[in-house]
């Protein structure tokens, strides 16, 4: 990297006067902020692909590094908690970049007044998740801010991993005809959190899907590693946003078949009531993969044979046109465009 190179004013395209919640919601606004302000300054004009983790060569070994911040409210929710998310989220970002997490560093930002038992519970949740994912928490830092200056606790985790041999994800390698695989039902996490906030007077038997997807990624890698073109864990912004990003990156189209997308009735029901699109809802334990058409069936059987991958599905394919766009074909032969999430998903009134 050439540090002395001046950053051209043209590279900074972000013009919003202030940061809004939407800039953190994982959709269009987030992408504009990162590509228009953060990356041009920090990367100093060096062009890099923005993906879940960066792969670097360290002494002849291909290593991967990523970092992620967790600010979920409430801290605990059915199926998981912030501590568990903080480990799985980073393990998953590495996994979908084609790397196995080895080491984690943890930063805690705590609000004065946080009960010790709450912190202890989250540390135990982190330790258990780390053990399950086979990753070592090797370093950390703790900061405390005044009461009211943070919402109980924030966690940031940085993960270092080793590249999984034979796997090389690159949106540029995607070809028309490639198939899109999804590891399981969508929307569980986002809807669970929405309901756990208790603002909706809605109840459903739902749990967050937070988990490490590494075993599933490794199963596909073992079956047909070289056929994997791209992977992503569709967290904030959901499946729609992840697929729109890849469609823009590879300038090809994506067509999904609505009825093949696995989704629980509880999630569908909540989305119907609230006017949300499940394709925009966050997941914390799923991943999307684009694989070469010839190997897709093998990849899908490998996923389905893996514990936790039973409901994986082939949900669509890559096509020439319309480039940069995600389409969904409905069950009756109609189609609609599915755009990236704009802002936070807000329930409608009627």
């Amino acid at each position: 990297m050439n540090g002395s190179q001046p950053i051209s004013a043209a590279a900074i395209r972000f013009r919003d006067a202030q940061i809004e919640m939407a800039h953190g919601a994982g959709g269009k606004a987030s992408r504009r902020l990162i590509e228009g302000l953060i990356a041009p300054i920090l990367y100093q004009g060096v062009s890099r692909t923005l993906s879940d983790a960066a792969h670097v060569d360290v002494g002849g070994h291909r290593m991967a590094i990523t970092t992620d911040g967790f600010v979920v409210s409430p801290l605990r929710f059915p199926g998981g908690s912030i501590g568990e998310l903080a480990v799985n989220g980073t393990v998953n970002d590495l996994a979908v970049s084609g790397a196995r997490a080895e080491i984690l560093a943890v930063t805690l930002v705590l609000e004065a007044g946080l009960e010790t038992r709450v912190l202890e519970a989250e540390m135990r949740a982190m330790a258990q998740a780390a053990q399950r994912a086979g990753v070592l928490v090797a370093a950390g830092d703790t900061k405390v801010v005044e009461h009211g200056k943070a919402d109980k606790m924030y966690i940031s985790t940085t993960g270092i991993g080793r590249a999984i041999p034979g796997v090389c994800v690159d949106p540029a390698s995607i070809r028309p005809g490639d198939k899109i695989l999804l590891s399981g039902p969508i929307g569980d996490h986002g809807i669970t959190i929405l309901l756990a906030r208790g603002e909706l007077d809605l109840a459903a038997d739902l749990r967050s899907d937070t988990r490490s997807v590494l075993p599933l990624v490794e199963a596909v890698a073992a079956a047909c590693g070289s056929a994997i073109r791209w992977m992503r864990d569709p967290t904030r912004g959901g499946v729609a946003t992840s697929l729109n990003e890849v469609a823009l990156d590879c300038r090809l189209g994506v067509v999904l078949e609505e009825e093949r997308i696995p989704i629980r009735d509880e999630v569908r029901g909540a989305c119907e009531l609230l006017g949300l699109d499940p394709l925009h809802i966050a997941n914390e334990g799923q991943f999307l993969a684009i694989v070469g058409a010839g190997e897709a069936a093998r990849a899908l059987s490998a996923l389905r044979a893996c514990a936790g991958g039973e409901s994986s599905a082939m949900i669509g394919e890559v096509c020439d046109e319309p480039g940069g766009t995600v389409l969904v074909s409905t069950r009756y032969g109609g189609t609609r465009v599915v755009d990236m999430l704009v802002g936070d998903p807000l329930p409608r009134i009627c």
Binding site: E20, E257, Y332, R336, C350
Partner: protein
């Protein structure tokens, strides 16, 4: 999922689509207006346009409560929100609607206390848990949401709640339809009648459309099969030279409406002499105001609002789109200066706005030969 899947059965959809093809006279170009924004949304979301024959044109009507609100009212509401003692509560739909100085969401980011509520009664809870603050509920909607605001005001009164008031922007559907029919540039064949709103007002208020204007109208549900079946019913009426009010949404809409809801509305609200609608201008007796007996809970009585008329940005053609004169993509700003991320007009914001629906579901769409073989 019960009450949903039955109305999305592919073979029933195909049958209804075939029936429409049989009924539609290939020599006639049908212009059918769906009044309600919820229908517009469903039409795009389910890709129904692809299933309909080309000579059936669906025109989007004015039934999107967020869209018809002129910018001046949003500014008035946000002027109240500027009071540091106020918690400003509104439905999620309102949050991104632009006022002159930004949307409620932008006001929130600047430190104003703006909250999303899912029901007006949540705003009452806010008032009870924040006794040192005054909670203002920004009420919007047609007769669909007006009863819940009415019940909320009745409750506020019975609780003797002193720190709660409603900024009322409720409008009524019939004058809007009348304004559309009075518009000289509209040549409509028939109406798909609003579903949710009719659960409250029933079907009788539409009778003049059939009797005086000789236009068929079918009150319709929001699932794909509801919409297709309503189009079948309208085409049958047109074929037979009839004009009547029919109720396709019988599972929800009683012919006489919801008496309890209407009673609560009558107790709390009266007609405003006139109200400004975006695109349609001032329409007399087209909106609701809070009765004197509830003045203590009327934000317009408790706060001074600027009450300034704000015209829409010149280039924006929201009014023409709202009236159905222009299609969303025919507006000069569509997809350029105006997009869901940077909305110039409310039609690009609300999930029921036709511009947002068109942008989200149709924009950039090209015909794709769907020859996928996913049966792995």
């Amino acid at each position: 999922m019960k009450f949903v899947d039955e109305f999305r059965e592919p073979h029933l959809i195909t049958k209804a689509a075939e029936e429409i093809r049989r009924l539609a006279d290939p020599k006639h170009h049908y212009r059918i207006m769906e009044v309600c924004g919820g229908h517009t949304h469903a039409i795009y979301r389910f890709g129904l346009k692809d299933i309909l024959p080309e000579n059936i044109e669906l025109i989007h009507g004015p039934g999107c409560p967020v869209c018809v609100l002129p910018m001046g009212r949003i500014d008035d509401g946000l002027a109240i929100a500027d009071d540091p003692n106020v918690i400003f509560a509104a439905f999620g739909d309102m949050m991104r609607v632009p006022g002159t100085q930004g949307s409620p969401l932008e006001h929130k980011a600047r430190g104003k206390d703006v909250r999303i509520v899912y029901s007006p009664t949540d705003a009452i809870k806010l008032a009870q848990t924040n006794p040192e603050k005054h909670v203002v509920f920004f009420a919007i909607g047609f007769e669909t949401t007006a009863p819940s605001t009415a019940l909320t005001l009745l409750r506020a009164k019975s609780l003797g709640l002193k720190n709660f008031s409603v900024f009322c922007n409720h409008v009524t559907i019939i004058p809007a339809i009348r304004a559309i029919l009075d518009s000289p540039d509209m040549r409509l064949d028939a109406f798909i009648g609003p579903g949710h709103c009719s659960t409250v007002i029933g079907c009788r208020p539409y009778e003049w459309i059939a009797q005086d204007q000789r236009k068929p109208i079918v009150v319709c549900g929001f699932e794909p099969l509801d919409l297709l079946q309503s189009i079948v019913m309208l085409l049958r009426q047109l074929r037979d030279g009839e004009a009547k009010v029919e109720n396709q949404y019988k599972r929800v809409v009683p012919w006489e409406g919801n008496r309890a809801a209407l009673k609560a509305m009558a107790q709390v609200f009266e007609l405003r002499p006139y109200f400004e609608w975006r695109g349609l201008g001032f329409i007399s007796q087209s909106a609701l105001q809070i009765r004197k007996e509830f003045a203590a809970w009327n934000s317009e009585q408790r706060f001074t609002v600027p009450g300034v008329r704000v015209t829409d940005p010149k280039a924006a053609q929201c009014g023409e789109v709202l009236k159905g004169v222009l299609k969303p993509e025919q507006c000069k700003l569509f997809g350029k200066e105006c997009s869901p991320e940077h909305p110039v007009g409310a039609l690009m914001v609300s999930s029921e706005g036709s511009c947002a629906a068109y942008y989200n579901y149709q924009h950039r769409r090209a015909l794709v030969p769907l020859t996928m073989s996913l049966s792995a």
